[in-house]
Symmetry: none
Subunit: 311 residues, 2 copies
DNA sequence: ATTATGATGTCAAATGTATGTATAAACTAA
DNA sequence: TTAGTTTATACATACATTTGACATCATAAT
């Protein structure tokens, strides 16, 4: 999920904006987090711990005391694990101890498709919530979200599913993601992550996944939305001065409509060198051959951040 | 109302606008509420307590004394849910309260526009959250959301705002609404409320407001999304058998593209008589003259539900 | 008209709790 | 050494609770 899967207390402090002492006190007094320890006793945090701290900050900003915020999160965690038995009727849940991770994934997928088939948006969202809080975003995203969205699209194109099934399923995923990333509190001076669909593009969901990842990493996020006019992107960059701009291009349509698209963007990127411009998606992978100097291709935030570090 | 069912006195004060001292005094003197206590003696309120305090405020604003308001609520414990416009003994015209509310609204609006101006999505969402929990959806929707969205559109058309400011502001409102209504858990067998944009229509936000209202009223909600193909709506109705279908049509574009639109929909509606079909929005108000037999015009869920009852 | 009474919101003091920060002493790593 | 981590303790500020006082105002009694 992150560049690294563990953090020292100092890094956690920097990522959350909390002091190291406070992080320890929250652990001691309220059980806010439960980091593992190295042999020497040093605390070792994982990405989930960092997320939890950020969620606590968000709750505090909404009027919770830290004590109650922890209670609240723990309560919801409990609820999230009970939800398991809301499986559709035509599937009986197999809670055998011998289920491997693979079979569990395919069980989740089956449930998702069953929910989507009957247009049960909240069923989808509850399941995603459960998997998310149990296994984290990386697992959820790679093993469930992306394959699910992909096959939902397939089923629609193959006429296996009606359009409404595709729409409701996609929107359920979108709504889930929106709920997640708006539960993080980013510090005022955090760098900005701007996500936008390329003119002519209408698939926004991958961007929401990226935004959730960015929010977890401590960015403020802004979403420019579907198909903004060409100059809207420039206006936004000019005003917001984001650290990163990510553009989605899942189909070939945009390049058909405007063959100059990439060079236009490259030129825009060259004018704002404080901002890193990336383009991603299937459409971009197919057509964006020349790795531009200022506009680059990236399919995952992981590779994106690696790229930034090596610039 | 919310998923969570306990609040500290601080949050209750924030939610109701009462001071913590007053909340305690009301409890001590009149038994206004009876919160449980934590081990340390701190008060723990539940959603009912908060509701009750809000009802008391409403009664006081209508002229009741606090003492009588409590007595009134206790006497009418079972019908007290609807305490709307009951005339009190000594009704005094309190214009001061009204004007302060007016200035408060315009203050909120100013803040919203300030946030929107700098593309601060989470600023918008936090403010909406505050107003929502303090004054409820009706107030928020009528006095802030709809005027705000309206003027955001204006500013964009008048070139006062750039497109990105319009997009980010609208999306912030959308995300806020999505977060709200997905926090409602409707029972499995609740009637379904299906919202969809008419083919050619791309404004989805009003539908999200409607969905939130429906969720509050206990409906399961489903959102079919932007511009579904003509048959997608029929497929969805056929499969999901919603109790209510609401269609949004804010512009005139759809009727220009397909002059038969209304009669097509009327025909669809006539085939599913268990389902109530409504169409709303500025575009519909302008063009939908003949009040159809099965497809009807409605601009608010209030009027919609009144209409259903009188059918 | 003046006074007494009661209702109500606000304030203050005394006491305990919650929470963020600071320091000391021991230990670890580079 | 020097900087960072650990535990433990101390402390200040903010917050919660109880109790009672007080000012204001409307209403009833004088």
């Amino acid at each position: 999920m992150e560049q690294r899967d563990w953090y020292g207390i100092r890094q956690v402090a920097q990522l959350t904006g909390l002091s190291t002492q406070l992080i320890r006190k929250w652990e001691e007094r309220y059980g806010a987090v439960a980091p593992r320890r190295m042999e020497n006793g040093y605390r070792v945090y994982n990405a989930k711990d960092v997320m939890r701290l950020k969620q606590l900050q968000k709750l505090i900003s909404e009027g919770f005391s830290i004590r109650n915020a922890v209670l609240y999160l723990d309560e919801n965690k409990f609820e999230a694990e009970i939800v398991t038995d809301r499986s559709p009727d035509n599937l009986q849940e197999n809670t055998s101890l011998y289920t491997t991770k693979q079979t569990q994934i395919s069980q989740f997928m089956d449930m998702l498709f069953a929910f989507g088939e009957r247009g049960d948006s909240s069923g989808i969202q509850d399941l995603l919530q459960k998997v998310y809080s149990q296994y984290g975003l990386e697992f959820l995203s790679e093993n469930l979200l992306i394959p699910f969205l992909h096959e939902v699209g397939e089923r629609w194109e193959m006429r296996v599913w009606d359009e409404f099934q595709e729409h409701i399923s996609s929107l359920a995923v979108r709504d889930f993601l929106i709920r997640q990333y708006s539960s993080f509190l980013a510090p005022q001076d955090a760098p900005l992550f701007l996500a936008a669909c390329i003119p002519g593009e209408r698939h926004e969901i991958m961007l929401h996944i990226a935004m959730l990842e960015a929010a977890i990493r401590g960015f403020k996020t802004a979403f420019l939305g579907i198909s903004p006019a060409p100059n809207a992107l420039e206006d936004a960059v000019e005003s917001l001065r984001p650290k990163i701009v990510v553009l989605a291009m899942t189909t070939s349509a945009p390049i058909d409509e405007n063959p100059m698209l990439f060079s236009d963007l490259e030129q825009l990127a060259s004018r704002y060198r404080q901002t890193h411009f990336y383009i991603g998606g299937r459409g971009a992978r197919m057509h964006f051959k020349g790795t531009g100097k200022w506009l680059r291709f990236s399919d995952s935030l992981d590779s994106l951040f690696r790229d930034i570090e090596h610039r």
